[in-house]
Every structure is written in structure tokens, then in C-alpha cells.
């Protein structure tokens, strides 16, 4: 009954990344029709500039957070602390650079070290103490913001370290340095998940923790690992973000970005209840959100109205991600196909 093209179509419709991709394609089409200059590219001193480049560059911080968040969510958890981790890391780096003139390698070590501490703390609360992930990371979220404010005394601090500035605004081979940085992190995560058993273990823990433990998976270790990874992603996101802006505002840095990251993951096709996940989907989700933001800005949408179309797009993509609606769509599509032939 089923001809080859229709199985291909239904397989494609079943794939998780098709809907965020479709949303992205629609947005790009909209810009292509109404705002052609969106696709302009130019080079200055051999470096690539243009609205599309900016969109990718600006979405890197959420992409980094979303990469870590995807694995956490796949284990059935969630990490609300990433925004605050960014604030702590940003405040710490700015403070040490300004007060003690710590060099870039030192700052990098401090940033990753701080995220290590937070990651282990989160992971330990979740896997060894047994606190619900949402609660454990909520505690760290509140705590972290306070710590960040205390480090700088609440004051904004300028960033002058050339290494940090380079991470945020430098170019490598004509491309913003953030892009290869993201690709590296993504490649590490993807390789660890697909070429080793880690990905399988993460899914197993998220699907059924007890069963995975009984079959010999070190569920606690896996959880510790994903929270650790999520916090390190947040540290990198902080460096990229403060290097870009050139200033740390501890009250604002990373605020609400945990929600952007969760949105990117959900829009990308990973379900909040854990289990199967797609790293690529989360990256596309983050790109979709930033493309939408930039499009609305360019269209001159008043700032008090723009959350509405944003919410609508996210709602539509999430609806399309729903298993039920999707299978209905597939049925509709295949049945109309058979009628036609």
C-alpha cells in the first residue's frame, strides 16, 4: 500500500527537527519577500558581516546553554541555574581582571573552575541528596544571583581583558570566533553521545531511572555529568556574552536566559519528560528564536507587542511537536495521497 515517497514523507514528518526547521524556513521566506536586505553579506578587513551573521552570532549564547540543557532535560531533569551561573562567572571574571589583573588563561581557569563547583553542587543535590532537579537548580539560581551581586558590590564592571573581548567579538578566518567555539562544544557533545555509550545511558536514565540502574547504568554518575556539562556550557556562554558587551551587569547578565534555553530545547523537539533527545534540534530552536527576535526588530514591531508573535510561533511549533497532532497530520497526509492515486 505505502509507496516509497509517502513513507519518506511520513518519516520526515515524524522526525523531530522538521518543525523548527519549517518555522525557520518560513521566517527566512518572510524576510526574503518583505526585507531582502536581511540576506546582505559584506566583508570588512576580510571579516564577514551582515544581518544573518549577527543572528547566528547573537544566538550562540543560547545555543551553548541549550546544548547543556538538552542533556539535562534528557535525563528527566532541568537546569534553572544556568542564567545565574553566567552572572557568577561574569562577575568573578570581571572582578579578578579589574582588581588583580589576572590574565586570560587564569580567567578561563577560574570560569571553568567556578562552573565545575556549581555543576557538582547541582548534580550532587539531584542525584545523591535526591532533591527534584527543578527545586535544586532553583535554589542555585536564587543563590547564584546573590553571589554575583556581592562579588561586584552590585556595580557594573567594564571588561578590558583582550582574551575575553576576543571571545565575544573577535574573528577567526573571517568568521566570528563564537561560531567555531559553538561548533567545537557541539561536536564534543554529539560525539560523546553518539560514538560512546553516554548518549544511550542519558536516554536510559531519562526514560526509566530504576530500570537503567537495575541494568547496571551508573545513573547518579550520569546525572552528575550532565549537570557538570550544563554548568560549563553556561561558563562559556558567560565569557562570550561579556566579551561581546564589554561590560558585566551582575543584576542582568544571563537573566531569563535559562528560559530561552529551555524554550530552544522544547521547540527543537526534545520532550521535557526526558528520554530521547536531539542536540541539533536545540541548536535550530535557538536559531529560530533569535531569527524571530531580529525579524521583529527589523520590522519595527513595537517592543511592548513583540512578545505576542514570539509566543505564538513557539506555541505553534510546540503544538506541531505533539505526538498526537503529528500522527493525525501524518494520517491526513497519507490518506489524501492514497485518494489521489
Amino acid at each position: 500500500m505505502n509507496s516509497a515517497p509517502s513513507t519518506f514523507v511520513s518519516r520526515f514528518l515524524q522526525s523531530r527537527i522538521v518543525w523548527p526547521l519549517a518555522g525557520l524556513a518560513l521566517l527566512l521566506l518572510f524576510n526574503f519577500v518583505f526585507d531582502r536586505s536581511f540576506f546582505e553579506l559584506s566583508t570588512r578587513d576580510g571579516n564577514l558581516y551582515g544581518p544573518m551573521v549577527s543572528v547566528i552570532r547573537l544566538s550562540v549564547k543560547v545555543m551553548l546553554l541549550a546544548t547543556g540543557m538538552t542533556l539535562v532535560i534528557a535525563t528527566g531533569g532541568v537546569d534553572l541555574s544556568v542564567g545565574s551561573v553566567m552572572a557568577v562567572v561574569g562577575a568573578l571574571v570581571a572582578f579578578l581582571a579589574e582588581k588583580y589583573h589576572v590574565g586570560f588563561p587564569g580567567l578561563l581557569a577560574v570560569a571553568l573552575g567556578a562552573s565545575l563547583v556549581v555543576g557538582v553542587f547541582n548534580g550532587a543535590l539531584v542525584s545523591y541528596v535526591g532533591i527534584q532537579p527543578i527545586v535544586a537548580t532553583l535554589i542555585v539560581m536564587v543563590l547564584g544571583r546573590g553571589v554575583a551581586l556581592n562579588i561586584t558590590g552590585g556595580m557594573p564592571v567594564p571588561i578590558e581583558d583582550t582574551g575575553v573581548l576576543y571571545l565575544g567579538r573577535g574573528f577567526i578566518a573571517g568568521v566570528p570566533v563564537q561560531i567555531p567555539l559553538l561548533l567545537t562544544v557541539f561536536a564534543i557533545a554529539a560525539l560523546a553521545c553518539r560514538k560512546t555509550a553516554i548518549g544511550l545511558f542519558v536516554e536510559a536514565v531519562g526514560d526509566n531511572e530504576t530500570a537503567s540502574r537495575l541494568s547496571g547504568v551508573n545513573a547518579r554518575g550520569i546525572k552528575l555529568l550532565v549537570y557538570l556539562f550544563s554548568a560549563s556550557c553556561a561558563a562559556l556562554a558567560a565569557l562570550v556574552s561579556i566579551g561581546d558587551v564589554g561590560r558585566v551587569e551582575p543584576d542582568r547578565l544571563g537573566q531569563m536566559l535559562e528560559l530561552d534555553a529551555i524554550t530552544a530545547v522544547v521547540v527543537g523537539g526534545t520532550v521535557l519528560t526526558g528520554g530521547r533527545f536531539t542536540l541539533l534540534g536545540s541548536i535550530i530552536g535557538a536559531l529560530l528564536i533569535q531569527t524571530l527576535t531580529t525579524t521583529l526588530t527589523r520590522q519595527g514591531m513595537p517592543s511592548d507587542v513583540s512578545p505576542v508573535p514570539k509566543a505564538l510561533v513557539i506555541l505553534i511549533v510546540c503544538l506541531l511537536q505533539s505526538q498526537k497532532l503529528r500522527s493525525q497530520l501524518v494520517r491526513l497526509f497519507t490518506s489524501s495521497k492514497t485518494h489521489a492515486s
Partner: protein
């Protein structure tokens, strides 16, 4: 799928309850640092609650410090709450001040609307509320004692007049707005629009919110410069932080801030003066944040039962590159 919808909805309900619980907890205990100064004399020490929006800008940090310092100076016990930019936290904080039976409340409101219920509770408890730096809209103005603030509309107008003089009444302007719904964002927009109305060749070609934040200011400017880069001659920001972000974006676009594109803003914080000395910012209209003395004068008057004007205006000044270097050493914040 193993997990059913019920499990996940349960999880989210649990989250909502816990979030609420923790916010309340934060509102009254964790983040409130009680500043107790040595009380002089044997009289009953005044207790005043201060609900601050957050610490998102140098300006706000200076305002907080001014109020804390003045409280310490007068021997007032200050219960301070930083709402981290969230209105819900401010409502929680005010309710907890009322529950703790403070003598007066100082409130720096994040937005204009939605204060009626909580202010009615304060009025019922006979606690006077002094508003600082931003106004609110309520149907019954007996709900607060007075508002101590700069006139934001006048600030916007001063900025427009300076720009008109500088450009000979010809400019294509990008406007970086503050947080949607915030009084300074609304009024600084209104004042600026009124100021340029007399000059038909001064036009706002794009207006977007940068949320009073350096990072957002840079992001929005980067996007808008790609679109209007050839036309734009001036950027007007509702606060200094966004202007600092805009300066970074102009530099990244390969132009000279302060020369190729005029940048002007409002607030007059120290880093804005530093930017003016460097020649990157052209003008800032001062909005004085040192409201502590005036706020506690009002608290004392209100408690004595004196009649207060509904608005106490603080005078603002305009600074540009010619006066920046001389003023910089005087900047405390």
C-alpha cells in the same frame, strides 16, 4: 512515551508552588539585609522598608546607596529588598513590610500600573508610602504620600533641544527605549517627541526597547545599524547603559561613535562621563539618583502628619563633552 501528561503537569504544579514559596521566602528573609544603625537617644527607632527594583544600572545602585547611607545617618532601621527586576517580588516585599509593621515604606516602582491593591493594604495599615524616581497610575492619589523624582518628560525635552542645537535641526534618529511600561521610558519618549516636534527635519527612523541594559542596547543597535546604517545620524538612548551598548555596536560596525553618529542619553552616571571624555558619547542629561535625603525628609513629614505635595521635583542638568572632564571627578556613581 512512558511519561504521561499527568506526571509532567504534576511536576509543573509542584514547581509553581515551590517557586511561589521560594519567592515569598526570598521576599522576606533571604535577600533582605536589615541595616541597623546605632540608635541615638532613647526614642523609638524608626523602621522603614525600601523596595528597590534591582541593581541593573549604575544609576540604580547609586540610588540604593544614597537611601541606605541616609538611613544609617539618621539612625533609621532600613529593611531593604532588591526585587531583581521583577514586579512580583516588589509586591511580595511590600506585603512583608506591612506584615512586619514598618513605620513607612519607600518604593521605587518598576512599572506604572498594578499597585492599587497592595497600596490599599498599606493604607489600611496606616503606613505611608513614599515613591521614589518613578510615578505610578492609581485612581486614588491618597494611596501614596508623595513622589520624589526627576521630571522625565523634561529630561527627554532637554535631550531633544541639545540635539536640535547640535545638528541645526536636522537628524535621523534611532531611539533606544527603556523597558516597555516603565515610567521613564514612556516619559522620556514623550518629552523627546515633543522636543523635536518643532523641527520637521528631525525624524525618528526606528525605535526599539533595549530594556535599560547595555547588552540589549548593543544587540538592538547592531540589528538596526545593519538596516539603517547609511541614514542614521544620531542615537538617543533612554539611559546611559544602553548608550554604552550602542557605542560598542557603532564601533563594531566600523564607525566612530560621537563623530560619525551622535550618541546622547539620560542619567549622567560616571561611566557616561568617562565615555564623553573619550569622545564617544556626546551628551547626557543628568537624572539625579541621590534621593535619600529628600526621601527621609518626606518620611519624617508624613509621619508627623504634615501635608506633602504629591510631587517633589529634583532639578536635572545637561552635560556634554565640553563640560564632562570638569564634572567627572565629582561623580560619585
Amino acid at each position: 512515551m512512558k511519561h504521561t501528561a499527568t506526571t509532567s503537569s504534576l511536576r509543573w504544579t509542584a514547581f509553581a508552588i515551590l517557586a511561589a514559596a521560594i519567592t515569598t521566602f526570598t521576599g522576606c528573609d533571604k535577600k533582605s539585609d536589615t541595616q541597623s544603625a546605632n540608635s541615638q537617644g532613647g526614642g523609638k527607632k524608626l523602621t522603614v522598608g525600601f523596595s528597590q527594583v534591582g541593581a541593573e544600572s549604575d544609576w540604580r545602585v547609586a540610588e540604593t546607596k544614597s537611601i541606605k547611607d541616609e538611613a544609617a545617618k539618621r539612625g533609621v532601621e532600613l529593611k531593604f529588598n532588591d526585587a531583581e527586576g521583577k514586579v512580583e517580588n516588589q509586591l511580595t516585599a511590600i506585603r512583608s513590610f506591612i506584615a512586619q509593621g514598618v513605620d513607612a515604606i519607600i518604593l521605587a516602582p518598576k512599572v506604572e500600573t498594578g499597585w492599587e491593591p497592595v497600596l490599599k493594604e498599606a493604607k489600611a495599615a496606616k503606613i505611608p508610602v513614599i515613591l521614589v524616581d518613578r510615578g505610578i497610575s492609581v485612581s486614588d492619589d491618597s494611596l501614596f504620600a508623595t513622589l520624589i523624582a526627576s521630571d522625565f518628560v523634561a529630561e527627554g525635552k532637554l535631550a531633544a533641544e541639545w540635539l536640535a542645537k547640535k545638528t541645526g535641526g536636522k537628524a535621523k534618529i534611532i531611539e533606544l527605549e527603556g523597558s516597555p511600561g516603565a515610567a521613564p521610558a514612556i516619559d522620556r519618549k514623550k518629552g523627546f517627541a515633543a522636543g523635536i516636534a518643532a523641527f520637521p527635519e528631525m525624524k525618528i527612523i526606528a525605535a526599539q526597547s533595549g530594556d535599560f541594559e547595555t547588552g540589549k542596547g548593543k544587540e538592538v543597535t547592531e540589528t538596526l545599524l545593519q538596516q539603517h546604517g547609511k541614514d542614521v545620524t544620531a542615537i538617543y538612548a533612554h539611559n546611559d547603559n544602553m548608550a554604552l551598548g550602542a557605542i560598542e555596536a557603532i564601533k563594531a560596525a566600523g564607525k566612530k561613535p560621537g563623530q560619525d553618529i551622535i550618541v546622547l542619553s539620560i542619567d549622567g552616571v560616571k561611566s557616561a562621563f568617562q565615555a564623553m571624555v573619550k569622545g564617544e558619547l556626546n551628551c547626557t542629561v543628568e537624572c539625579n539618583p541621590l534621593l535619600g535625603p529628600a526621601a527621609f525628609d518626606a518620611v519624617e513629614k508624613a509621619l508627623k502628619g504634615d501635608k506633602l505635595d504629591k510631587k517633589t521635583i529634583v532639578q536635572d542638568r545637561v552635560f556634554d563633552q565640553s563640560s564632562a572632564a570638569a564634572e567627572l571627578p565629582n561623580r560619585k556613581y
